[in-house]
């Protein structure tokens, strides 16, 4: 920590602003993701979590603010720089967004070939290894239409990991899944975090994320209004907005009131 070099965040956003349809969706949001850290975005619907995550890789270009990858500011006007950034920033979507006409293997392989210029053979080998990593080696030949939701999301994770990203952005990766399928995806995400992947994840899975997050960021109306360790923010007497919000969620989903860090997955 003492050395300047080590503290350069993998990804850093400064004062991101975005207005959509007259709404101030992001209002001067800043955040830094040091190497290996896991941050979790929570907050009510419409807070701007998805917008923030998509601004981080310029899928939604921010109106103002800057984004730096490993200390180098990204020039948003250069298409080449944007493609280079996106190769190093993996993204997982709520609704998987697998390519429907390609098998699981081809889904993982296609960007390796098109973007990284790998040969079909090498790309195929790597793709198979990535699928094995998420426990889907035996499903490589199946098409999205024949995969369950949990399997689709794991293919999507393998697809992102195959590009060897420096950081992962996850936007509610389990929200579109049936309850019995959530566990298999969370297990993969936990594995990733334990292997040191730098991540920022929007989620409503409070107890799960409390067990692996270094920091919770509570968003409301386009701003990060609270930030801190899960234990701190979720303490019974913390009086934080985060605590109140999480209590409401757990009431709805029937999670235990005590969310001090144990995971029930």
């Amino acid at each position: 920590m003492a050395v300047e070099l080590e503290t350069t965040p993998v990804l850093e956003a400064r004062a991101l602003g975005k207005t959509l349809g007259g709404n101030r969706v992001l209002d001067a949001v800043s955040l830094a993701l040091p190497k290996g850290c896991v941050k979790v975005l929570i907050g009510p619907s419409g807070a701007g979590k998805s917008t923030l995550l998509q601004c981080l890789n310029f899928l939604i270009p921010p109106d103002s603010g800057t984004i730096s990858l490993e200390g180098r500011e990204v020039n948003a006007k250069s298409k080449r720089e944007l493609c280079a950034l996106r190769q190093q920033v993996g993204m997982i979507f709520q609704d998987f967004n697998l390519f429907d006409h390609l098998s699981a293997l081809e889904n993982v392989r296609v960007a390796l070939m098109k973007v990284k210029g790998m040969s079909k053979l090498d790309a195929g080998e790597l793709a198979l290894a990535e699928l094995a990593r998420v426990g889907l080696a035996d499903k490589a030949a199946l098409y999205p239409a024949n995969l369950s939701g949990g399997q689709k999301q794991r293919v999507a994770i393998a697809r992102a990991l195959a590009m060897d990203p420096k950081v992962m952005l996850l936007d509610e990766p389990t929200s579109a899944l049936d309850p019995e399928l959530i566990g298999e995806v969370l297990a993969v995400i936990r594995d990733l975090a334990q292997n040191g992947m730098t991540m920022i994840m929007a989620t409503h899975q409070i107890s799960f994320s409390a067990s692996l997050a270094d920091e919770f960021l509570f968003m409301e109306k386009g701003r990060v209004i609270e930030a801190g360790s899960p234990a701190e923010l979720l303490r019974r007497d913390s009086g934080s907005r985060t605590k109140a919000f999480c209590a409401k969620i757990s009431e709805l989903t029937g999670e235990a009131d005590d969310m001090g860090g144990e995971c029930k997955v």
Partner: protein, 231 residues
Amino acid sequence: MSTPYLEFLRTELAPGLMEGLWTSLVVIVPSACLGAFIGVVAGVLRVYGPRPLQRLTEAYVSLFRGTPLVVQVFFWYFALPYISIGGHSIVLDAVPASILAFGLCSGAYQSEYIRGGLNSIKRGQIRAALALGMTTRQAVQSVVLPQAFRRALPGCGNEIIYLIKYSSLASIITVNELTGMATTIAKNSWRNIEVFCTLGAYYLVLVTLATWLLHLLEDALGVPGFERHKS
């Protein structure tokens, strides 16, 4: 007393129609290819092109879908030679004029199916492709078009079937394709019923063959989620 039908078919009708069939194919195959090519280009431009090009392709589609095909055929054959630009004018023979007319008209309809196919692909998949570092062009080429093409294939196939049938219009600008040959034979032999019923059968066989080929193509491209809906 005239010769029996089979004798007439063997000695006169079939050889004449065979020649016409060949000419028909010379018109149909290039105009189907031209139409498919124009359809894909115009369809992609209508969805992803810059504004001015979107407008331009939309105008093209309205014009060619909004006027009778006979008028278009007449235009390319009879009117084009009178349009001179800098003292030069273009005179097209009947066959190239038909191919141009059918290709342009077919392309206008094909672009509708391609556009529908493109729009049916969820934006999320494009976002996912971009998020992996693909350029917009790569995303369209390797994610959107292959799916849009599969979705558009039944409609595009239908359009090609129509093209086979409306290729008979070439006969009115003196192309001796199937219908042109049949008309000549009918005039000379006075056996209208037999000639035109046989002509109908030829088209029926052509259309059946084309349908079968298209189904083969659909099955070859079919993956789970994109199967041909068997009736």
